[in-house]
């Protein structure tokens, strides 16, 4: 039987970590873009548009991410479209992230006093101009800590994509365990790597919160 050193195990896990990081980045950036679009729909003046965004958000927040991954992976296959695991994983995570970010940001936008909308409207600004120059610059400051905090959920969410066969950190852990028969060591290392990714994010969220002094300024 071949002997595996800790370094052998760690090296393989770290190689797979690249995919966890890449998938997290794609989900977060893509989810941010879709989330921003959803945010605009969610606070639109048209009722039908608002309702669409609301139901989208409720649907994606109200079903397990795992089901969304299955549906993206197998569902499209039913229509004869061959979806590679990385595409299904990326797509599902982007849509899932978007639904949470849109709702986080909506809360931030709605926390801006109504007087800011009224003052900018009375100066002749259109809705997009109000958002761009008055509301979002203020909402952004409030949004940074919870947004960075949510990125931790995204990183951990990528672990589920191992189930549809995307080889990232968790999947690599399973593969390595099957070869080494040392599950405790392997999954222990996997957990440590996740922690090393997530802890700085949580910490920076806390630091940003203090720095931007969200609770006190402008009140």
């Amino acid at each position: 039987m071949i002997e595996f050193s800790i370094w052998d195990i760690l090296r393989n896990l770290l190689l797979a970590t690249r995919w966890t990081i890449l998938l997290s980045l794609v989900s977060f950036v893509g989810g941010g873009a879709v989330g921003l679009l959803l945010l605009f729909l969610r606070i639109s003046k048209r009722k039908a548009v608002r309702a669409f965004a609301k139901y989208y958000i409720e649907l994606f927040q109200g079903t397990p991410l795992l089901m969304q991954l299955f549906l993206a992976f197998f569902g499209l296959g039913l229509f004869g479209i061959d979806v590679p695991a990385w595409l299904a994983a990326g797509l599902a995570l982007v849509l899932w992230t978007a639904s949470f970010l849109a709702e986080i940001w909506r809360g931030c936008v709605e926390s801006i006093a109504r007087g800011q909308w009224e003052a900018s409207a009375s100066l002749g600004m259109g809705r997009l101009q109000q958002m761009r120059y008055v509301i979002l610059p203020q909402a952004l400051k409030i949004a940074v800590p919870p947004t960075v905090g949510f990125s931790v959920q995204v990183v951990k969410g990528t672990a589920l994509t191992s189930i549809i066969g995307f080889v990232e950190l968790s999947k690599a852990g399973t593969v390595v365990t099957n070869a080494t028969f040392q599950p405790f060591t392997v999954y222990g290392l996997v957990a440590l790597i996740y922690f090393a990714l997530c802890w700085p994010l949580s910490k920076s969220s806390q630091i940003l919160e203090r720095k931007l002094n969200v609770a006190h300024r402008n009140h």
């Binding site: 900018s120 009375s122 101009q129 300024r217």
Partner: protein
């Protein structure tokens, strides 16, 4: 033709009718005080004039611009009437100068240098030329309200709506804001103000409108309205002050 024409305006929230057929014509250069108890509809009327509230019936026009609830018409109307609020509503993320410049560059597409020159001129006019770089939270309430006036003036409106602009101020800061308004009135600006400053209304206004339960209950020059109120409601209202 009057500058501001308010014709048979009605406004309801659900089944609660807060404006019950308002008629009011304002001539250029008039200074009008709107007084009345809270809940009489005076603030609502003012907010209807620049489209912050939609009206249920009737029509409002300012210098030919009709109040119609779409972005193009509202913008045209709002370029003609500025509004100043009780809570100042300065943009907290911008300096005083930035507050006065923003809508010029965003709405009117004025070049930056020109917008800045205008901002300095308007801040000077309200006595705050030296506060160009200050953020709103570094200013007193009275100063913030004066910046808000400068911000509205920079859009060169032909009329200004003032919604209880001194009600959120400490007593010692009221005078500096009223002095600015008094000056504007003297320069011939058309002003419609909801106010509780009865002495100011008496001194500066050309007409006083007393609103009661969603109607214009009494209207006339201040000496008449204050010295010789005809209706018991106005007598009672003035007696309270």
């Amino acid at each position: 033709m009057s500058l501001i024409e308010i014709t048979e305006v009605r406004k309801s929230y659900g089944t609660n009718e807060v404006l019950k057929g308002i008629n009011l014509d304002v001539e250029p250069g008039e200074v009008i005080a709107i007084i009345g108890k809270s809940g009489s509809g005076k603030s609502t009327l003012l907010r209807c004039i620049n489209g912050l509230e939609t009206i249920t019936q009737g029509s409002i026009s300012v210098a030919g611009a009709q109040l119609i609830d779409d972005e193009v018409h509202l913008k045209a109307l709002r370029l003609k009437v500025g509004m100043i609020f009780q809570q100042f509503n300065l943009f907290p993320h911008l300096t005083a100068g930035g507050n006065v410049m923003l809508s010029q560059s965003v709405v009117k597409k004025t070049a930056k240098a020109e917008a800045e020159a205008m901002a300095r001129k308007m801040l000077d006019r309200v006595g705050l030329g030296h506060k160009f770089e200050a953020y709103p939270d570094e200013l007193s309430g009275g100063q913030q309200q004066r910046v808000a006036i400068a911000r509205a003036l920079a859009m060169q409106p032909i009329a200004l709506l003032c919604d209880e602009i001194t009600s959120a101020l400490d007593p010692e800061l009221v005078a500096e804001v009223l002095a600015v308004v008094r000056e504007l009135a003297a320069e011939g600006m058309t002003l419609l103000m909801v106010t509780h400053e009865m002495k100011f209304a008496r001194d500066v206004c050309s007409r006083v409108v007393f609103m009661h339960q969603g109607r214009v209950h009494e209207i006339g020059p201040p000496e008449e309205v204050f010295a010789n109120p005809k209706t018991p409601e106005l007598q009672q209202f003035l007696g309270m002050h």
